[in-house]
């Protein structure tokens, strides 16, 4: 229903009701007038009876007059009949209006009747003189009637008064109602007019609004009012203009955005094309989305991604796909799975995927990454990478590692066995292998097989004891074959037997090689630091790029002992030699006595150390007298080992007089070891280094131990021959220090 219709219906109802109101009021006014008129013409009950009383009085008086006129006493009986009628009428009036006047009237009437009756009787019996009294009685009757009339009149006047008051009020009320009805109608009519006008404007606006809404922004809105509606129209018009502008802007924005999106799409495609990983996304229901990196097609060997299922893509069996389904369901079933995504990834059955492509195996590594949307799993991104090569490489590495593990086992076992035990074991093995090779299993079931079986069993045990676990394994295989033959007398496939023996022989050969390469024929049991050995084994097994040669070098280094084990010998030497040379030595101080030093290098450097120590005693330290005069106390020597940057450094240090370059050079010139020219060209260091010249000696006397000028020369030669380095530090009056640098072979170990 339109607003206008509603308004008209509403106004109509109100107008109609107010009209009805007015009409009702007019009708009520007419009614009052009519009733008034009726009331005026109707006898008041009391008045009616009063007039009857008057009639009775009149009739009574007439009866008396008749009786007198006719001289008939019987007519008085009528009077007697009327008396009770009067009384009853009077009583009725009293019921309505208990008025004293009525009581008096009753009494007066009774008196009148009584008195007059007596008078009339007396008159009729002859007493004529009472005629005047009869006139009095007649007059009394008239008076009675006048009293009744007076009563009636007063009552009527009273009634009329009351009526008038009522009428006046009634009319006033009805008039007021009519006025109100008329007023109300007026108000409603003007209100209706105003509303009709407003509605008309609103209708105009709503038409404008619907025009706007339909997008016709070019139709302007008529503004022709200055009131609130005019303001509204004005606003509408402004809104229309704004909207028009906005929409214009929006259009250009949409255009821009579209261009941007197209560019972004292009970029995305470029990126997807350039990504080197196969990327695509999967929904929690295991369906595959269309977007993917170009590489993904290649990796999964598919031409399309649209509508393809994971099962097809993976070419996997149903069981694994079922597991994947379960996994996806689980991962999307709760926040806790999303939150700790990484820890649940191992449960995914496709962390690695094998794809067959034309008979060639391809191994893909799949990385499953969650894509969240408002805290819930929306998609899973799958990143695939081809790890076929890596896997192959890994496999090779593992094989290498195993081989090295085996090698280390052999080395360890060889290292820990006594030379004799090892020799015996290997000899026993050789014999056994020869015997095994010669045996004819089919025909030779009895004694020889039994004895071979026993020997094999013994070998297995011995190998185990010595730590050659591979030999044990191989021997056990041979034993198994033999036991089948022995117990069931079955013939055994010769090739099985031969293969077992061959494997055993191969392992024994490997051990022999290790034994020779590591220890040589002459060497006995190595002094091996077990912990160091274990560390080396771990190192070798975790970094599999090792060459057997390098392992041997490292093993040689393992042949170590604490430095003090070796230095004891030099302490003894210094003690003995010091006594003979007549110099008092406080002590030979050992630096880093607990340093693990390689036996091999220390043995090589032994003669050098002896020379250097002697040299220090003979030439480094002053004689006791000189030392005493210099207040230097007992002589002090130090022998120190250090391992730095892959070199073993051994130094021999004295606190003696030091080397004076000039003196040395003079001496060398005297001894004819250098010519004048050289002498002049040498700097201080060069002069000091002349002490290494063959034949150089600063002493004139030669004793049993030194002084032949050979010591330092021999050291220099050996240093040169071995590819070592040597340094000499000297300070006049303070002492000299010789440092030998011996490289430790292949300490880094990596190639």
């Amino acid at each position: 229903m339109s607003l206008r219709l509603k308004l008209f219906v509403g106004l109509g109802i109100v107008l109609g009701s107010s009209l009805a109101f007015f009409l009702y009021a007019s009708w009520q006014a007419a009614e009052i007038r009519h009733k008034n008129w009726q009331l005026r013409n109707v006898d008041y009950p009391g008045l009616d009876k009063a007039s009857k009383l008057q009639t009775l009085v009149r009739e009574t008086r007439e009866s008396f007059i008749h009786a007198v006129d006719e001289m008939d006493a019987d007519l008085l009986e009528e009077v007697d009949k009327r008396a009770p009628v009067f009384d009853s009428l009077a009583n009725e009036i009293l019921k309505i209006d208990n008025n004293e006047t009525i009581h008096q009237l009753q009494t007066q009437y009774r008196d009148y009747v009584t008195v007059t009756t007596k008078l009339v009787r007396d008159y009729l019996e002859g007493d004529k003189k009472i005629v005047s009294r009869l006139a009095e009685a007649n007059h009394a009757a008239t008076q009675l009637n006048q009293q009744i009339q007076a009563y009636s009149d007063s009552k009527y006047q009273n009634f009329i008064g009351v009526m008038e008051v009522l009428n006046r009020n009634g009319f006033r009320f009805v008039n007021m109602l009519m006025l109100m009805g008329v007023g109300l109608m007026g108000v409603l009519l003007s209100l209706g007019y105003a509303l009709v006008v407003i509605i008309k404007q609103i209708e105009k606006l709503s038409i404008s609004a619907s025009t706007l809404a339909s997008g016709k922004l070019n139709e302007s809105i008529e503004v022709n009012r200055v009131d609130e509606l005019g303001v509204l129209q004005d606003s509408f018009e402004k809104m229309r203009i704004n909207l028009k502008n906005h929409i214009g802007q929006l259009d250009s924005m949409v255009e821009n955005r579209t261009r941007q999106l197209q560019r972004a799409q292009k970029e995305t495609e470029d990126i997807l094309g350039s990504i080197q990983e196969g990327i695509f996304t999967v929904n929690p229901d295991a369906s595959v989305n269309e977007k993917h990196s170009i590489k993904a097609k290649e990796l999964f060997n598919t031409s399309v991604f649209k509508g393809v299922s994971l099962a097809t893509l993976f070419g996997a069996d149903e069981r694994k796909m079922l597991l994947l389904d379960k996994w996806l369901k689980m991962m999307s079933s709760g926040k806790r799975f999303l939150k700790n995504w990484k820890s649940f990834v191992p449960l995914n059955p496709f962390n690695e995927l094998v794809i067959w492509e034309g008979g060639v195996q391809k191994i893909l590594k799949l990385d499953w990454q969650p894509i969240e949307d408002e805290g819930a799993l929306s998609k899973i991104m799958v990143l695939a990478a081809d790890i076929t090569e890596t896997k192959r490489y890994e496999k090779q590495l593992n094989e290498l590692k195993q081989a090295q593990q085996l090698y280390m086992q052999r080395v360890l076992a060889c290292a820990e066995a006594d030379k004799e035990d090892l020799d015996n074991f290997l000899e026993q093995c050789d014999k056994l292998v020869i015997e095994a090779n010669n045996i004819q299993l089919q025909s030779d079931l009895s004694t020889r097989t039994k004895s071979l079986f026993r020997s094999m069993h013994t070998l297995k045990g011995n190998a185990g004891t010595l730590g050659f676990s591979r030999v044990s394994e191989r021997a056990a295989t041979c034993e198994d074959v033999l036991s089948i033959v022995r117990e069931s007398s079955q013939s055994v496939d010769v090739s099985t037997w031969e293969a077992s023996i061959k494997a055993l022989g191969k392992e024994l050969e490997a051990i022999r090689q290790v034994r020779e390469s590591v220890f040589g024929e002459s060497r006995g049991k190595m002094l091996i630091d077990k912990q160091a050995m274990r560390r080396l084994t771990d190192e070798i097994l975790t970094q599999p790029f090792w060459d057997n040669e390098i392992i041997l070098d490292r093993l040689a280094l393992l042949d170590t002992a604490p430095f003090h084990v070796f230095s004891r010998k030099y302490q003894r030497l210094v003690e003995t030699y010091g006594q003979r040379s007549g110099k008092k030595i406080g002590e030979l101080v050992i630096g880093n006595p607990n340093l693990q030093v390689p036996r091999e290098q220390l043995l090589q450097v032994d003669s050098c150390l002896i020379h250097l120590l002697r040299n220090a005693l003979d030439h480094g330290l002053e004689t006791d007298d000189v030392r005493a005069s210099l207040q230097k106390g007992l002589g002090r020597l130090e022998l120190k080992a250090q391992i730095n940057g892959g070199e073993l450094q051994i130094s021999v240090k004295d606190d003696g007089k030091g080397i004076d370059g000039d003196t040395v050079a003079q001496r060398a010139l005297q001894l004819g070891l250098i010519d004048e020219l050289t002498f002049n060209s040498l700097d201080q260091k060069g002069k000091e280094n002349l002490v290494f010249l063959a034949g150089f000696t600063s002493r004139k006397d030669v004793n049993e131990f030194s002084g032949r000028g050979l010591g330092l020369d021999v050291v220099r030669e050996q240093v040169k021959a071995m590819g070592w380095r040597m340094e000499m530090l000297t300070a006049l009056g303070k002492g000299t220090e010789f440092r030998l640098f011996i490289p430790l072979r292949q300490t880094s170990g990596k190639t």
Binding site: L323, W327, M330, F337, N340, K342, S343, L347
Partner: protein
Amino acid sequence: MSRILIVDDSAFVVKSLANHLSAQGHEIVATACDGIEGLEAFRQHRPDLVLLDITMPRKDGKECLQDIIKENSAAKVIIVSATSETDSVMECLQMGALAFIEKPLRLHDPSFCESFNNSVAMGLAGEVQ
């Protein structure tokens, strides 16, 4: 810090787990070698966390988990299992187990240790669904 119950039929696994967790400052309140013992130990000790194996004699991990959850629906349980048991592991996780630790326990591998410790922390933080 936390009181932990280990249920696994392999003595070696139990020992490795116990050593590692003790070193982290946790207290191993009990160990059990099957589901029945595990449930008993759970009842007796009321641990903060249970590390539970799946494949065990007499009563397997799945059944044990069911009983434990019946006993206390807020129990914090971590499944320790090989990925070959994926199916059962996932069932356990949906049943209410909080985390999963993969066997073999490569406890000498730092990255494994990190994820191990994460899983334990996750279990102890335990938001049960």
